[in-house]
């Protein structure tokens, strides 16, 4: 690449002249921040693999190819939809509810101190995460064309609107609603969509009995699922710290990183012990979803709480997910991977914790309840998270109803029994392996 330098050197020299001119000192802040945001974006991209492996592991072998195809395509759809419409709606000025300019990124501006392309990539990866959460909740029975349609709509329109409210200068931002890396914006959006989708789709065949009791449908691969959780945890180190969008002197991103880690660890330990006590055995499903619960919970408050508070947020998040799992069974919603408890309920919980453990000294508008700030911030947080959740629930409900009318939402009974891999893709996931049980 020696000889490439003369080629593009001119442009590079013009753009980054002072940087090249000297060897010691002189690294530009925007360069460092761009590197940081890009690396974070790459990590968030990798979460797509994490979701894919997690969801594949949690469902039956006969639908594995289907969910992985969905996983690929929702990210691709998110990339394109967020390029064409999403970014404009989310980040352009406009009104308190949505942005109105910069479609196809034409004339768009970066909302951070890094180049637009880097900021866009980071945001697009977030958008993909919100979209893919839903695959897990609607797994093993949803038609593939319906899924493609859904994933384009959420990435191009619904997610960007919610995002605009909080991160695009919309009405919630103006109220001092605080959601650092997206407990509400990303996770609740995904989780609430998964809930309404799973409700409209109905449970998988055989999931609930006539007498109201439920049958577990164990996933087909624990190693895949756990690889997925490890990758997600790793990706979260891009998700949360990256949302700072600047390295600064390193204090803020270090705090965010340690908080992210401690909340995940504390939540995983908590749910393991709860499952051990309640069900007699340490259940790896809860350990894994516990870690995710902690990660989702700390996403909103990660920049404005202390590490000790992060541990508490993790522990309480662990309780939320166990309760959420019970709730799903009571309301008879079949969510194969626990998308709603993990991303929906812990998304709400995480957003609320800002109002409990948040600190003014760390940049929050006012102290949280536990530090004498009273209920004000908590109230704002509740308003923001519920408003966002309800908006997503209702609007995505309409979207699913419309898709159902136009394309159909659920595969037919026989296809579901035989597996979506065979019927929708004409392919087996584990050719040659002898697998019993349908």
């Amino acid at each position: 690449m020696l000889r490439r330098i003369p080629l593009i050197g001119l442009a590079a020299l013009l753009l980054a002249a002072p940087a090249f001119a000297q060897d010691e000192g002189g690294a530009s802040t925007v360069g460092l921040d761009t590197l940081f945001v890009l690396v974070s974006a790459f990590l968030v991209f990798l979460m797509q693999a994490g979701f894919g492996m997690l969801e594949a592991g949690f469902i039956r072998a006969k639908n594995t190819c289907n969910i992985l195809t969905k996983n690929f395509l929702d990210y691709c759809m998110a990339s394109l939809g967020f390029f064409v419409f999403g970014y404009a709606i989310m980040f352009s000025e406009g009104n308190p509810f949505f942005g109105t300019s910069g479609f196809f990124l034409v004339g768009a501006e970066s909302a951070a101190d890094v180049p637009l392309w880097a900021f866009w990539l980071f945001q697009a990866a977030f958008c993909g995460a919100a979209a893919t959460i839903v695959a897990g909740g609607m797994a093993e029975r949803m038609k593939f064309p319906a899924y493609l349609a859904y994933s384009f709509i959420i990435s191009a329109f619904i997610y960007p609107v919610v995002g605009h409210w909080t991160w695009g200068g919309g009405w919630l931002a103006q109220l001092d609603f605080f959601d650092f890396a997206g407990s509400t914006v990303v996770h609740l959006t995904g989780g609430a969509t998964a809930l309404v989708g799973a409700m409209i789709l109905g449970p998988r065949l055989g999931r609930f009995n006539a007498d109201g009791s439920s049958n577990p449908i164990p996933g087909h691969s624990v190693p895949l699922a756990s690889l997925g959780v490890f990758i997600l945890w790793f990706g979260w180190f891009g998700f949360n710290p990256g949302s700072n969008l600047a390295v600064g002197d390193g204090e803020a991103i270090s705090l965010i990183a340690i908080n992210t880690n401690l909340a995940a660890a504390a939540a995983a330990v908590t749910t393991t012990f709860i499952s051990w006590i309640l069900f007699g055995k340490p259940d790896l499903f809860f350990t894994m979803n516990g870690a995710l619960a902690g990660l989702v919970s700390i996403t909103a408050p990660c920049a404005v709480v202390s590490p000790a508070a992060a541990i508490w947020i993790g522990v309480t998040g662990g309780f939320v997910i166990v309760l959420g799992e019970g709730l799903l069974r009571i309301i008879k919603v079949d969510d194969p991977c626990g998308a709603f408890p993990v991303h929906g309920l812990c998304g709400i919980w995480g957003t609320l914790t800002v109002g409990l453990w948040g600190r003014e000294s760390l940049g929050l508008a006012r102290e949280g309840l536990f530090y004498g700030g009273g209920f004000e911030q908590l109230g704002i947080q509740a308003l923001g998270t519920f408003a966002s959740g309800i908006f997503v629930f209702l609007s995505m409900g309409l979207v699913f109803i419309a898709i159902k009318a136009v394309l159909g939402l659920r595969v037919d009974r026989m296809e579901e029994i035989r597996g979506l891999d065979m019927n929708e893709h004409g392919m087996e996931s584990y050719t040659g392996f002898q697998i019993l049980g349908s």
Binding site: M414, I417, R418, M422, G426, M427, E428, Q434, L436, G437
Partner: protein, 113 residues
């Protein structure tokens, strides 16, 4: 004593179990396999090549029963597995010379159930 062996589609296995239980037959063994018969297979594509897959997944269910239960077992399986479409499978009945319950060493008819 007879050994009733059914080759059925994987998706009816839970139904077969239910019907067998309903017929007071609660002991059986199951193995996964594949089979080839009149049923037209399905079109699979891989890398743009379509092929007719004619080797389809089948499950083998073995039920050892005393003579007076043979018909019951057969009927239970028929009720569960008959859809009327090619590929429903076959039931084979063979003579069982002896049957031993490993736990007790009991032999013959009383060891079956």
């Amino acid at each position: 004593m007879k050994l009733v062996t059914a080759m059925v589609q994987p998706e009816v296995v839970p139904l077969v179990q239910e019907e067998l239980f309903g017929a007071q037959i609660s002991k059986f063994s199951i193995t996964a396999g594949v089979g080839h018969g009149t049923q037209k297979g399905y079109q699979a594509t891989f890398r743009g090549v379509q092929t007719q897959v004619n080797i389809l997944k089948r499950v083998r269910i073995d039920v050892a029963v005393n003579e007076d239960f043979v018909e019951r077992a057969v009927q239970a399986i028929l009720r569960a597995a008959q859809t009327g479409m090619p590929g429903d499978g076959k039931i084979f009945v063979t003579d069982l010379h002896d049957c031993i319950r490993i736990r007790t060493g009991e032999r013959g008819s009383q060891a079956i159930g």
